[in-house]
C-alpha cells in the first residue's frame, strides 16, 4: 500500500494590485511557493465576501487566506481597512463556532514582496497541514 503524504488544499484570494503582483514577483524572482495554493484574483481584498470563504471550505479547501495591499496602500483608498474589520469579526465567529482559527488568515503583501508571498504561503500551508483535513466546515457531498 502506498501512503501518500497529506497535502492540504489552500485557496488564496489575492488583490489584483498588490498581492497578485506579489505572487508574480515571487515567480520572477524564482522563489517557489507550495503547489497546493490556488490563487483567486480579486479586484480588492474587500471584494471577498464572507460567503466566498465559506464556499471555499465547502468546495474542499482546508485553509483560506486573503492577501491584500498594506493598510494605507489600497488602490481604492480604503478597501483593505474594511477587509480588516470584516475578517477580524468573521474569524472570531468561526472560532466561536469551534472551527479552527488557524485555517483562515489575512496577510498584507505588496507587489514588491515576492519573498513575503512565498514565505507566507509556505508557512500557512504548513500550519493547515498540521491541522489536517477540514472536517468541521466540510460539505460531504463535495467529497469524492
Amino acid at each position: 500500500m502506498q501512503v501518500t503524504e497529506y497535502k492540504p488544499k489552500i485557496v488564496a484570494f489575492c488583490c489584483n494590485w498588490c498581492s497578485y503582483a506579489g505572487a508574480d514577483g515571487a515567480g520572477s524572482a524564482r522563489l517557489s511557493y507550495p503547489e497546493e495554493v490556488k490563487i483567486i484574483r480579486v479586484p480588492c481584498s474587500c471584494r471577498v465576501n464572507p460567503m466566498f470563504i465559506l464556499r471555499a471550505f465547502q468546495r474542499g479547501a482546508d485553509g483560506v487566506i486573503i492577501a491584500g495591499c498594506h493598510p494605507g496602500d489600497c488602490h481604492y483608498t480604503s478597501g483593505n481597512y474594511f477587509t480588516r474589520r470584516r475578517m477580524a469579526l468573521l474569524f472570531s465567529m468561526l472560532d466561536y463556532l469551534g472551527i479552527e482559527r488557524e485555517r483562515t488568515r489575512v496577510e498584507w503583501i505588496s507587489a514588491a514582496e515576492g519573498a513575503k508571498f512565498s514565505k507566507t504561503m509556505t508557512e500557512f500551508c504548513a500550519t493547515v497541514a498540521a491541522l489536517g483535513e477540514n472536517k468541521r466546515l466540510e460539505d460531504l457531498r463535495c467529497k469524492k
Partner: protein, 342 residues
C-alpha cells in the same frame, strides 16, 4: 388485547429494538420531545406531541433521488437509493397517525411515489392514546379520536401498565414477536382510560370548533373573501407552519453541483415562500395574501375536493404553538365561518 406491566416497558423497547430500529419520543433538552432512536438507557417521553411531526419517517425533509455523472457527452444516471430497513415508531399520537392517511392519498395514488412507498412498507406505527390533551388540540374537529388512535398497534396507558391492540397484520406480527412480555386482558381498563380522555377533550377550548363554512366545493365562496387580507396581514412568510405540519406534503426538487457530479434531491417546500411553484414566467402568487390563502384553501377546500371530503389538517396544534405571529388554521376557520354562506 394484550397487557404490559409498567415495569416492563423498557423490556418491550429492548425486545423490539433487537429485531428492528425503534424510534420514540425523547426529551431533547429544550423542553421538547423529538423522535430518537432507542438504545439502552433511552427514556421514553410522555410529552403530548413531538416538536417535529412523525411524517419525517416517511417523507423526510431532504432526500437524495439520484445522481448524475458526466463524462464528455455521456451522462450516467445513478440510483442512490439505500436499502430501507424495517423500523418501528412508538408513541405516535392520533393526529400524526391520521396524517399518514393524508400523505398516503398523495403519494400512494397513481403515480405512486416509490421512495415514500418503500419507507411506508418498512415502517410499523405504534400509536399512543392521549391522556392529557392540550389547549391547542382540535383533532376531534376532523373526526379523529385521540382516545382511540389508528396505527398498526394502538397503545393505551392505564393505571398499572399499558394495553396494546394490534390493528393490522404488521401490528399482529410485532405483538407476536414480543408475546413473551405480554399477558391477555379485556378492554375494561381501556374504556376507563378512554372515558377520562374524552371528558377532558370535551372541556378543551377548541372542542366546539367545527368545519362548518369550509370544505368540499367551496372554492368560489371562499376564494375571494375579503377576510384573507386581514388574516394574512401579519404573516411573515416563513415556513414554520409548513415544516412542523404533519400533513404538508409539498416539495421542491433541486440539483446540487458537487464539483464531480450532480446530486438531485428533493426537500420540503413551503407555499409561504416567495419562490414556491416559481416558473419560467415568474411566480403565480405574487403577494403573501395569495400564498397564505393557498395554504389554507389547500387544506380546507382543495384537498377535501380531491379526496372525498377528507380535510388536509389533523388538528395536532403544532402550528398554533409555533407560528411566530400566532396566526393559524383555527383563526382562519373561525373567521371564514363567521361571515360566510352569503
Amino acid at each position: 388485547m394484550k397487557k404490559l406491566s409498567l415495569a416492563k416497558l423498557n423490556d418491550l423497547f429492548a425486545a423490539i429494538a433487537q429485531r428492528e430500529a425503534l424510534y420514540l419520543p425523547v426529551d431533547n433538552g429544550t423542553g421538547k420531545a423529538e423522535y430518537t432512536k432507542w438504545q439502552e438507557g433511552t427514556v421514553y417521553s410522555t410529552a403530548l406531541n413531538t416538536g417535529r411531526s412523525a411524517k419525517d419517517f416517511f417523507f423526510p425533509q431532504t432526500e437524495n433521488l439520484m445522481e448524475f455523472k458526466m463524462e464528455g457527452k455521456r451522462i450516467d444516471v445513478i440510483d442512490t437509493r439505500e436499502e430501507c430497513e424495517d423500523f418501528v415508531i412508538f408513541g405516535v399520537r392520533a393526529c400524526d397517525a391520521a396524517s399518514f392517511d393524508i400523505l398516503d392519498r398523495v403519494y400512494l395514488t397513481d403515480p405512486v411515489d416509490t421512495y415514500y412507498k418503500n419507507r411506508r412498507q418498512h415502517g410499523t406505527v405504534v400509536t399512543m392514546a392521549c391522556g392529557r390533551p392540550a389547549e391547542t388540540c382540535f383533532c376531534g374537529t376532523f373526526g379523529i379520536d385521540a382516545a382511540d388512535p389508528k396505527g398498526d398497534v394502538t397503545c393505551w396507558t392505564v393505571e398499572d401498565g399499558y394495553v396494546l391492540r394490534a390493528n393490522t397484520e404488521k401490528g399482529e406480527a410485532l405483538l407476536a414477536a414480543v408475546d413473551g412480555l405480554l399477558t391477555d386482558t379485556d378492554d375494561k381498563a381501556v374504556q376507563a382510560a378512554q372515558e377520562k380522555t374524552r371528558a377532558i377533550l370535551a372541556k378543551l377550548p377548541l372542542a366546539a370548533l367545527s368545519t362548518e363554512g369550509v370544505g368540499q366545493g367551496l372554492t368560489k365562496e371562499l376564494f375571494d373573501r375579503p377576510e384573507w387580507a386581514s388574516l394574512s396581514e401579519a404573516c411573515l412568510g416563513c415556513g414554520t407552519c409548513t415544516f412542523v405540519c404533519p400533513t404538508c406534503q409539498c416539495y421542491d426538487i433541486r440539483d446540487f453541483d458537487t464539483g464531480h457530479g450532480i446530486q438531485r434531491f428533493r426537500c420540503w417546500d413551503s407555499c409561504m415562500y416567495s419562490d414556491f411553484t416559481k416558473m419560467a414566467h415568474g411566480n403565480p402568487r405574487v403577494s403573501q395574501l395569495e400564498r397564505f390563502r393557498q395554504r389554507f384553501m389547500h387544506k380546507l377546500v382543495y384537498f377535501p375536493d380531491n379526496n372525498d371530503g377528507l380535510f388536509g389538517c389533523v388538528g395536532c396544534g403544532r402550528c398554533l404553538a409555533r407560528c411566530p405571529i400566532s396566526m393559524n388554521i383555527v383563526k382562519v376557520m373561525k373567521t371564514l365561518a363567521k361571515g360566510g354562506n352569503k
